[in-house]
Amino acid sequence: MTTERAVLPEDVTADDMMTVAAARMLTDGTACFVGIGLPSMAANLARRTHAPNLVLIYESGTIGAKPAVLPLSIGDGELAETADTVVSVPEVFNYWLQPGRIDVGFLGAAQIDRHANINTTIIGGDYAHPRVRLPGAGGAPEIAASCGEVVVIVRQSLRAFVERVEFVTSVGFGDGPGDRERLGLRGRGPVKVITDLGVLEPDPETCELILTHVHPGVDPDRARAATGWQLRVAADLHVTSPPTAPELRALRLLVPAKGS
């Protein structure tokens, strides 16, 4: 169990580390369906570092977008101007996402549970009278269902990492092994959950998310304390390698450090 306590350089935040770690999950030349926010940031970082031929697909129908500036929405004009082609919203979901042509789906989450199910619909109360009404599904349910695999990016906290999501907006592994097949979900589902503390991966046996990586300077106990279920730690826990100079340079060009 490798637990040398490397720490991150002063100028690298946990969010920076999370974004860099997420970007590293993307293989050059593959196609990635990109959610807005952290996923978009990480995907665009990947395209500027090790994956220049990453094909970015946004639910706005922009296929092969190469934004020079980070888009605020999934429908910024920049995406259409730089795309290989722009198709209608029905087409991007029916012809491109649904058949499983897209290798990786990159999603965020408000709540994620032990079996990597995602909630972006309500928190507290019931559906008719929620305490907090979240935006809802968007493209996520079908991205989670049909992409070859799914990578989730979410900050780790007791609020976000729960035993069981209050509302299943997008299915990870349902109640466990065999559920994706039973539900007819053809993609492999979530293979990695990238947080500001480390990386979680599903246990092949139980489909339960376990901690496989911590970021430099993060004690596994901190990750446990930020998780709403008994988080298991992989026998061979790894420490994420800190951002390289080129990764940091590219990240800073993408998102200037706070205050700069």
Partner: protein, 273 residues
Amino acid sequence: MAPIVSLDQALAEVVHDGDSVALEGFTHLIPFAAAHELIRQRRRDLTLIRLTPDLVCDQLIGAGCVRKLVFSWGGNPGVGSLHRFRDAVEHGHPHPLEIDEHSHAGMANRYVAGASGLPFGVLRGYSGTDLVGHTDTIRPITCPFTGERLTAVAALRPDVAVVHAQRADRAGNVQLWGILGVQKEAILASARAVVTVEEIVDELEPRPGAIVIPAWVVTCVAEVPGGARPSYAHGYYDRDNEGYRAWDAISRERAAFAAWLEDEVFGRDGAAA
């Protein structure tokens, strides 16, 4: 073939209280000016249909125009919550809001079915999600060839589609380009269609990536330059991202929103728009 009229006339003639109104434009070409005119005309009990209710729906909901929302993602893109939408769902203010909630893929296929004159669309979707339990517009369907279980969604057939586009010619043929969203489907699925445009031109000179909606499927067209702000019109003006960020503060408190409504909507004239 589609008359060119003023914004207020267009909406007064085509949209009535209680109508189901598809207000489309996927981030791009959102018909804000038309929505503000609906508020000025004090339309009530509307069923608002839109994949991504953003500021435009927050405003209509806060102004009390909307009885029911049919949607798939209700947020302020890249910023956060829609506070008027949340206030309606969480506290029933200004009055309770009925919702019919879907995913983008489901909504897109509901429009496609409506545009195609079919009662339903088929997709691989919703399976295992809790969305299924909260609407009667999602049902299982079995492939008659393979026996495979898939999902059917009920067609959308709005009374009216309201969209914004870049240009129309004097006959009312409409041209739009950039991100296409579901506007064509929304127009073809609806019984009537109002289109606001940046400009009326003599000739729709062909453009890469542009689609044309023939005048004979459009009810009327109104020339409204800037009609999509703070959203954008590809080739005319950019998205006002600052405006989207600023909305968070405006919409957070009922009073601030009411003041905004007075100044920015009721304080302006649709005929002049």
